[in-house]
Amino acid sequence: MKTIKMINISRRNAIALMLGTAGYIMSSGIAFAGKEQVLKRIDEITKGKGAKELDIFLDLPEIAENGNQVKVNFEIESEMTEENYVKNVYILADGNPAPDVAKFSFTPDMGMCSATTRIRLSKTQNVVLVAENNKNEYFMTKSKVKVTIGGCGG
């Protein structure tokens, strides 16, 4: 109990402090990934090649009443043979604190390329799917979800 520093807070300082804290909360609490970060991730995933927009079946609700449990289902047409199959599927979101949501790794043994899971969405945003096949070709699609009550504890 030797080194207690007393800080004199004047009214002016207090206001400055409050504003500063508010600003900090605003910037830290509502820090979302944003479209740029998602584009950056797509660039990283595709190693700069970019992904071709394709009509992939990505099933998401148009309006999610509860952002804590949003069902995602996708199905990609593929032969799923050793010569031709979908290797990885990435799910990204531009309105969550981090762009990455999940990465699925498929094998030809599955016979079909589809999966279902439940995700958190903190606000209305775009969910992006990037698929990679065994020939290192990339495809993507996106879907907008309106969120009434956000997830992520935000």
Partner: protein, 108 residues
């Protein structure tokens, strides 16, 4: 972490070349590291970060999970039945805990 409990649904029987659906669910809070407890303290990040499925020792499917996956992660995926055997499911969390489950399937 006694609350963590994996569950899975795999058809007991399947025909050759039939594409079956496997459904799994694990009870886990999936603390994203952004939520606060009743006292306003941050709950540290604690999530299931990976999921892996083997059939007779061969990896068939895996998934990397991020904090944006909901509480009690639910994962469903297909599998083309070829032969009778056992599925091995494995979940891993941030503390390095592993949760496993086995399911048998008869193919005729």
């Amino acid at each position: 972490m006694s609350k963590v409990k994996p569950r899975g649904k795999v058809p007991k029987k399947a025909a050759i070349d039939e594409v079956i659906e496997i459904k799994t669910l694990i009870r886990h809070p999936m603390h994203s590291g952004r939520m606060k407890d009743k006292d306003g303290k941050n709950i540290p990040r604690q999530i299931i970060n990976s999921f892996k499925v083997d059939f007779e020792g061969k990896e068939i499917f895996k998934m990397k999970l991020e904090p944006s996956i909901s509480t009690n992660p639910y994962i469903a995926f297909p599998y083309k039945a070829k032969k009778t055997g056992t599925f091995n499911f494995e979940w891993k969390d941030d503390s390095g805990n592993t949760y496993t489950m086995k399911r048998k399937m008869t193919v005729s």
